[in-house]
């Protein structure tokens, strides 16, 4: 008498259509918002201008937010000092641009872009190094204690911001963009600022690059696995601490990059600019879902577009519109659109 295993045919359950739509819902929000903007604004040329500037703003916010959300997802650390890195990046980048006057003053696209890239690299190096020090000195003693983390990183924010005043003086600094990035290109009867286009392209490249690193490389795999279950990754023999420091440094460098881009966009920098941007960054991280890069990307585009549309239609409601967006998203999904980290 042989005992046979009970018959069973393993089945792979397909997600039902509503489920799949539910997963893709956040992706649809951006086009929906763009169409809504078109309907409520009416004039094609204004709409195009606003959409491009909204996308540009969104990309820059995404660059600032991605580092924050990754660090949070991986190590459960919230860094309120992130805003200070944004300001430091802007100041370092602008100082570099001033030093490279001979490259920015001439109307040659190659030299101008090279100058901006050099400024970005300088800013990223400085803020990355700052992030490394910040992690060692400020964050390391308070892993796992959220309350202390918030307090200590706010303290770090204050100190770094004050140091900016000490080094660069207390006044805001006005700047001009490099020659070739001034002005606008005309497209379909609409003037679109060159710099905004550059920012959009840059942000897209960065997002695609980040996704590729996270999805296709081994280090990305370790980072994503670490977000899901850090203990298990360590048990498998990976030194997650090192990975984490790397992510923290990269996130700080991204904050610095975002700071340079934002400074060039606004053409003025202040020590408090990072603190102001942090509010939008937090909204983006909350909307996107803590720890999610894709969520932060969609959230940033939503925030940028909405801010620009609303500022055109009802100037006074621009900031409130973002709070309204956040409220609406949280009513729909209390953990944000695409949360990666389980609510603990």
């Amino acid at each position: 008498m042989t005992t046979a295993a009970p018959d069973h045919a393993p089945k792979y359950a397909q997600l039902s259509l509503p489920d799949r739509i539910g997963k893709a819902m956040p992706l649809l929000l951006v086009p929906v918002l763009v169409v809504l903007g078109f309907l409520s604004i009416g004039s094609t040329s204004s709409w195009l201008t606003l959409t491009v500037s909204g996308l540009a703003m969104g990309m820059m916010i995404f660059i600032m937010a991605s580092g924050l959300t990754l660090v949070f997802g991986l190590m459960d650390v919230i860094n309120f000092g992130h805003g200070a890195f944004i300001s430091v990046g802007a100041y370092v980048g602008i100082s570099a641009l001033v030093a490279l006057e001979s490259w920015t003053g001439v109307p040659s696209l190659l030299l101008n872009v090279a100058a901006v890239l050099a400024a970005a690299v300088a800013a990223m190096c400085v803020t990355g190094a700052l992030g490394w020090g910040f992690e060692r000195v400020i964050v390391r003693p308070v892993y796992g204690a959220h309350l202390k983390q918030i307090l200590v990183t706010v303290g770090g924010l204050i100190v770094i911001e004050q140091m900016i005043h000490v080094i660069w003086g207390p006044d805001e600094i006005y700047l001009t963009r490099p020659e070739m990035l001034k002005g606008a290109v005309t497209f379909a009867g609409t003037a679109i600022e060159k710099y905004r286009l550059l920012a959009v392209v840059f942000g897209l490249v960065l997002f695609v690059g980040m996704r590729l690193v996270l999805k296709r490389t081994k280090i990305g795999l370790i980072v994503r696995a670490g977000v899901q279950n850090g203990e298990m990754v360590e048990a498998l023999g990976y030194r997650l601490r090192l990975v984490f420091i790397g992510v923290f440094v990269a996130g700080s460098a991204l904050a610095g990059l975002g700071g340079v881009m934002w400074g060039l966009y606004q053409e003025v920098i202040t020590a408090g600019m990072g603190e102001e941007m942090m509010i939008l960054v937090f909204i983006v991280v909350i909307i996107g879902g803590l720890g999610s890069v894709e969520g932060a990307f969609i959230g940033a585009l939503l925030v940028g577009l909405l801010q620009n549309y609303v500022a055109f239609l009802e100037p006074k409601l621009a900031l409130i519109s973002n709070i309204a967006l956040m409220t609406a998203v949280l009513m729909w999904r209390p953990q944000g659109m695409m949360p990666v980290v389980k609510a603990k």
Partner: protein, 350 residues
């Protein structure tokens, strides 16, 4: 009797008792001990900030909730009084209506924010309060028709509380409405502080501490954590609004910079942490030290900066405008090395 007043929460340290008594005496007799407009201004500010910081301590120190919207509630109370005085004309009825309206509005707003974000993690709450508070600050400065925008509002308060009202002399000091106003601030602050002491030493406060230590276990014992946290947020917001109303009555002016700015939020954080989280008396010590430093230490720094004129970098570091830098450093150090602040240190020694 005294123990009852303090809700059984004695200072438990000789030095601390001495300090608290000295502060109480100095504030109670401020118009007679330190005559002069500036010192009275400082004393009133200390009274108000003690209440504001203590109400924040109810959240941070006793419930383990980090909120960045505390100045928003403070501002609500201040603007309540300002708007009522502007629209109802000068009078005590306007002050009362404005105060109550501000406190109720603050509690309702805190309830809404709490319902949204207290069920998820503490970090969520911190971020959401930061976002909402900054949005409100921007809204207030933009709605200039209602709130006076960036310039704020000037309004009249009852004549009995202004310097124009004269009663006569006492101990060589002429008693004016300004001094009556100061005593209104002082006694209201004292009452609010004792009320907060009462709250944190009640069974309700005990539950808050339990939640702070371990919310999972508190839930398991059967306490509805979200309910308690929300209640604590509302109470703290209402008391902060009352402090704001006192501030508005005292200053006869409100503006976004003096009541809603993120700088004040940072000041409150610094005072709580340096004074001592979760002790209530920490608020008294922290606020007193901070306000005194703000008013008098900066002059010292200015002297030091000009004395080191020739050296590189040192004068910039000692510039009076840079005093927040040193406070920030002190703040970080106190979070690491004295998590219970000055009060905790003093209690540990006895």
């Amino acid at each position: 009797m005294l123990t009852n007043l303090l809700s059984g929460d004695r200072p438990r340290s000789l030095i601390l008792t001495g300090l608290l008594l000295a502060i109480l005496a100095a504030l109670a007799l401020a118009p007679f001990l330190f005559p002069g407009v500036r010192s009275l201004e400082t004393a009133a500010r200390i009274c108000i900030f003690i209440v504001l910081v203590a109400s924040y301590d109810l959240l941070l120190g006793y419930s383990g909730i980090v909120s960045f919207a505390h100045t928003m509630f403070f501002g609500l109370g201040a603007y309540g009084v300002a708007l009522a005085s502007t629209h109802m004309g000068r009078g005590f009825d306007a002050l009362i209506v404005g105060t109550i309206a501000g406190a109720v509005a603050a509690a309702i707003l805190a309830l809404l924010i709490g319902l949204f974000s207290l069920r998820v993690r503490a970090i969520f709450f911190a971020m959401i309060t930061l976002a909402v508070a900054s949005a409100v600050a921007v809204l207030v400065s933009q709605l200039s028709g209602l709130t006076g925008g960036e310039d704020g509002l000037n309004y009249s308060i009852p004549r009995e509380l202004t310097p124009a009202f004269k009663l006569g002399k006492l101990f060589g000091i002429s008693i004016t409405g300004k001094i009556l106003n100061y005593y209104l601030v002082f006694f209201a602050s004292l009452a609010l502080f004792l009320l907060l002491l009462r709250i944190v030493n009640s069974p309700f406060g005990r539950v808050l501490k339990a939640i702070r230590e371990n919310d999972f276990r508190a839930e398991a014992i059967g306490y509805r954590v979200v309910l308690y946290r929300t209640l604590a947020t509302c109470l703290s917001a209402a008391v902060a609004a009352l402090a704001g109303s006192l501030f508005a009555i005292w200053l006869r002016y409100v503006g976004p910079a003096t009541t809603l700015s993120f700088e004040i939020m940072l000041d409150i954080l610094l005072m709580v942490v340096i004074g001592g989280m979760g002790t209530m008396y920490g608020a008294v010590i922290g606020a007193t030290i901070f306000v005194l430093a703000q008013n008098y230490l900066q002059n010292l720094m200015g002297v030091a900066a000009s004395a080191t004129e020739g050296l590189p970098l040192i004068p910039q570091l000692l510039d009076p405008d840079r005093w927040l830098l040193w406070l920030g450093v002190l703040f970080i150090l106190s979070v690491y090395f004295f998590p219970t602040g000055i009060v905790g240190r003093l209690r540990a020694e006895d």
